[in-house]
């Protein structure tokens, strides 16, 4: 039986258990063990002779005392109270929750990749370096950038890396630039990253079509501006129609144009950021290139740059000399290091596997289908919710629950929670900030029309419920292991660890 039917309260299936799962510390019994280690095979020496008592713990860490089966049952139970792409549809806007191919896991988990020590000699890691070298060239080709670094662990880490490079670039040119411009629709990470890199943030409003307001942008641009951080397609799911004029205006004042690549899935093989005039960008390999999100991470946030920023890339870069690959640390203008070692290599192997699976035609087809799916869902939902920006969308679109709030006192949050009862993860809500009661839907290319239709039907049903039975929606969810949780209590009296 499908997940929606199960969660919708079909009589054929038992309801999900609502019994709390004890924490792992409450399981087991004193003295019970779940591990097996060999006895020491080296000559017995008093521990005091190795590590003086003054350096040793006075009491053991109070870890669980459980058997292996206790551990297995516990985490299996927890895994059942989760929602994953493998279970169902995940229309979280801006997150690109597409299917994570199984072959990626098989490739990345081979000992020949997973069991490599970062400091082993490059001669013993030529296959790993070849993967990195090829992936760099693939992403440069896909984006129109000249070089790519893999060190950032996630998108926000990439933003910080790029802004530090921009800062160093202007230092080298003897220019003191203090400001980074972001549109009011930007991801929260953009201004936060700019602040870490020492910039002041200036916000520019969006225009009535959902583009960055070109005149407002020109009004804030000047010799103090280091960069404009733009997401394209933007967080409304709309392509910046005046991107060429935007790039020209930014470059006219000598500033850099930065692409937040969170929404790159919409334009793979169709248009390249480098050709649009972007100087630097980050990729979210965990969105566009199918590496799994792991419940919040790890990601992989590669950064691509045009030639003038190449000297500032973090060390090391990966270079090829004939048939041999090597790390290059001798880069005097580099910003330095932004993490230990080279990046989230395991995820880079997965992204490489995906790109090889898809090829150039497959990548373009992914973007086309992602956009087709989004426009299809939009076409069927547009009459049921407010649509603040009525344009052809790219890979995602943003509705507003304003009508339901104003007429029936049902909020977007209420409707998102009700959707859980229908067996779907909710869309991204209350983002971007410029849309009231925002509902941001990104279906991705890996979902079938049958899944999209089931989701659409649920969304339409909920819009109907908001009208006819608003209390039902306001009280949701009902079918989940817990009902609505008290966020206010959690923040007012934080309980951040278990205590006996």
């Amino acid at each position: 039986m499908s997940a929606p039917a199960r969660r919708a309260g079909s009589t054929a299936a038992p309801p999900l258990s609502k019994r709390p799962i004890p924490v792992i510390f409450e399981r087991g019994a004193p003295g019970r063990v779940g591990y097996s280690l060999p006895p020491s095979d080296v000559p017995e020496v008093p521990l005091d002779a190795i590590i003086p008592a003054s350096h040793r713990r006075s009491r053991p860490a109070a870890l669980p005392e459980v058997s292996e089966l206790d551990v297995v049952r516990h985490y299996t139970a927890l895994s059942h109270r989760n929602y994953s792409i493998d279970e169902g549809f995940y229309p979280l806007g801006s997150c690109t929750m597409k299917y994570n191919p199984k072959i990626n896991e098989d490739v990345a988990r081979q000992p020949g990749f997973a069991r490599l020590h970062p400091y082993q000699p490059a001669e013993l890691a030529q296959g790993a370096l070849q993967v990195l070298w090829e992936l760099e060239h693939d992403l440069a080709e896909i984006s129109g950038m000249d070089r790519v670094t893999f060190q950032p662990a996630a998108g926000a880490h990439g933003e910080m890396t790029a802004l530090l490079m921009i800062s160093r670039y202007f230092e080298d040119r003897g220019e003191h630039r203090t400001t980074v411009v972001v549109p009011d629709s930007a991801h929260g990470t953009n201004p936060a990253s700019a602040a870490i890199a020492g910039f002041q943030v200036v916000e520019v409003k969006s225009d009535r079509r959902g583009n960055i307001d070109l005149e407002a942008l020109k009004a804030v641009l000047g010799p103090q501006v280091a960069a404009l951080m733009l997401t394209n397609p933007n967080t409304l799911g709309l392509f910046e129609e005046q991107i060429i004029e935007v790039a020209r205006a930014v470059h006219n004042v000598g500033a850099q144009l930065y692409l937040d690549g969170a929404n790159f899935n919409a334009i793979l093989g169709i248009t390249r950021p480098g050709d649009q005039g972007f100087d630097v960008m980050h990729f979210n390999l965990h969105k566009t290139f199918t590496t799994p999100h792991g419940g919040g991470g790890p990601g992989a946030g590669a950064v691509g740059v045009r030639a003038h920023l190449v000297p500032y890339l973090p060390v090391p870069t990966i270079e090829r000399d004939g048939q041999r690959f090597a790390f290059d640390y001798d880069r005097p203008r580099s910003i330095g290091k932004i993490r230990a070692f080279y990046g989230n290599f395991g995820n880079l192997v997965r992204a490489y596997t995906y790109i090889r699976t898809m090829g150039p035609t497959g990548l373009r087809q992914a973007a086309e289908t992602a956009v087709l799916n989004a426009n299809y869902v939009l076409s069927r939902l547009r009459d049921h919710y407010d649509l603040p920006y009525d344009r052809v969308c790219k890979h995602e679109f943003v509705l507003s629950g304003r009508r339901q709030r104003d007429r029936h006192h049902v909020t977007t949050k209420d409707m998102a929670k009700r959707l859980l009862d229908y067996g779907f993860h909710s869309p991204t809500i209350y983002f971007p900030l410029i849309v009231e009661e925002a509902i941001m839907i990104e279906p991705t290319e890996t979902e079938s029309i049958q899944t999209l239709d089931a989701f659409i039907d649920a969304m339409i049903a909920i819009a109907g419920e908001a009208e006819t039975n608003p209390d039902l929606v306001r009280g949701a969810p009902y079918e989940t292991p817990v009902t609505r949780l008290d966020d206010v209590l959690a923040a007012r009296k934080p309980v951040l660890r278990w205590r006996p």
Partner: protein
């Protein structure tokens, strides 16, 4: 295309519903000047069997730690990983989930993170740990920024016995924060409390040490904490191998204020350097300055316990430019790996595995030191890593050992030119006495 289910008939149906004749019409908002005119110049798609073969060949070009006898550590550790880790933490229900924004649907993930936070508190002794950072080095950068903010001071004093790459990251990370980073020189492989006291001023936000430090030596945490606290500075402790905490005094026991660590050793694969697990933990009173996600316990409308992401007003999606950090995506899966690892090892297992590391490394250290020309570089007690001065260039030693499939230690000249004859050797519980004896035998023969 196996990942794209839409058939041509279904595409037509969708286009009709949208009201456009072709997919091309959905892209007409992109200016023609910036549209690609041809296909991307990438290798063609590979069918799965070919791709698997290709990937196996690439992986086969590497020598991995199943094939080599690994005595290399220096921030990445070859520990035994119980089978529970792969079978539980990497279950697709966890692997392919997103950040638990819809708490009611994601209680499993949230509870697992809550338990991970508790496990980190137990191990470090601290009051509160977050849901994870990118890696040990970047966690240390965040800890420094946190300390500067908490103390309203601008200088960070960092021991040169902290991992050199962590120090590089610390410098890059704070380079535009009006924070200056100052190195504190070594004294016989450790950070001398007297030198620290002399270097700390009323501008110093924090003293940063690592223990066991990069050379494997245990620092005098108590005296260093006192030196920092006497001048109103915080003590930040980096931990590169948290398994050490199964045996060693926890940073909380010697009054550390922030712990910033690398959790790879807790069940995570070596993975050529990542993904790893950034750990950050601190005292209760600093919780509102912590970066990153936190899971808290609360109740639902019927009074049942449940878990949510909490204290989010610290974070970038709410506070934007004034957030405590820009971190969003973290390393949740690696944290889950650590939780499964620590649950499996348990209260006794973490002590046993830590003791095995210490005993085996001690044996190796004594054996190598007994060889002519070799001697321990430093006298301080060590955990599972130690530095030896060698009569032969350590780079040359490593080349010769590789002929016997032994991956030798780290030649320190790379990071410390003055320690060109020094070799940082790591011995975990995965090494047998036979392997250690083999290493010693080859060193002997190589003289």
């Amino acid at each position: 295309m196996k990942y794209i289910p839409a058939t041509s008939a279904e595409r037509e149906r969708m286009l009709r519903a949208i009201g456009v004749p072709t997919v091309e019409d959905l892209f007409r908002d992109i200016p023609p000047e910036v549209r690609l005119r041809g296909p991307l110049d990438l290798p063609p798609a590979m069918p799965d069997p070919d791709l698997l073969g290709h990937a196996r060949r690439l992986a086969g070009l590497n020598s991995n730690c199943d094939q080599l006898i690994c005595f290399l550590g220096a921030g990445a550790y070859d520990h035994f990983v119980p089978s529970t880790v792969a079978h539980l933490a990497l279950k697709p229900e966890f692997l392919t989930a997103y950040t638990p924004y819809q708490a009611e649907l994601m209680q499993g993930e949230l509870q697992a993170i809550f338990e991970y936070q508790t496990l980190m508190c137990e191990l470090t002794g601290m009051d509160v740990a977050n849901a994870s950072m990118y890696d040990g080095a970047s966690a240390l950068g965040e800890a420094a920024s946190m300390a500067a903010d908490l103390t309203k001071r601008t200088r960070i004093l960092v021991s040169t016995a902290v991992h050199p790459e962590y120090r590089q990251v610390l410098r890059t990370f704070t380079s535009h924060m009006r924070i200056t980073v100052q190195d504190l020189p070594l004294s016989r492989g450790i950070t001398a409390p007297a030198a620290a006291l002399a270097a700390i001023t009323d501008e110093t936000a924090a003293l940063v040490i690592q223990s066991p430090n990069f050379f494997g030596c245990l620092e005098d945490g108590e005296a260093l904490a006192k030196a920092a606290h006497d001048r109103g500075a915080l003590l930040i402790v980096a931990v590169a191998d948290p398994i050490s905490l199964g045996l060693l005094r926890s940073p909380a026991e010697y009054e550390a204020d922030i712990v910033a660590g690398e959790g790879q050793a807790l069940g995570n694969a070596l993975n050529f350097g990542g993904p790893y697990l950034g750990v950050i933990a601190t005292r209760e009173r600093f919780v509102r300055r912590l970066p990153g996600r936190l899971v808290g316990r609360t109740i639902d409308t019927e009074g049942r316990p449940g878990y949510v992401l909490t204290l989010q007003t610290r974070e970038q999606h709410i506070r934007r430019a004034r957030a405590t950090s820009n971190i969003c995506t973290n390393e949740a899966l690696n944290a889950l790996v650590a939780a499964v690892y620590l649950s499996t090892l348990g209260r006794q297992g973490i002590q046993d595995v830590a003791e095995l590391n210490a005993r085996k490394a001690h044996y190796a250290r004594e054996r190598i030191a007994s060889l002519r020309g070799y001697r321990p570089a430093f006298e301080a007690p060590t955990f599972n890593e130690f530095v030896v001065r060698c009569p032969v260039n350590p780079e040359e030693i490593n080349r010769r050992l590789l002929e016997h499939r032994i991956l030798g230690g780290l030649p320190l000249g790379r990071f410390y030119p003055e320690l060109g004859d020094c070799w940082l050797v790591c011995v975990t519980e995965s090494r047998t006495r036979e392997e250690i004896d083999q290493l010693v035998g080859h060193l002997e023969a190589l003289q």
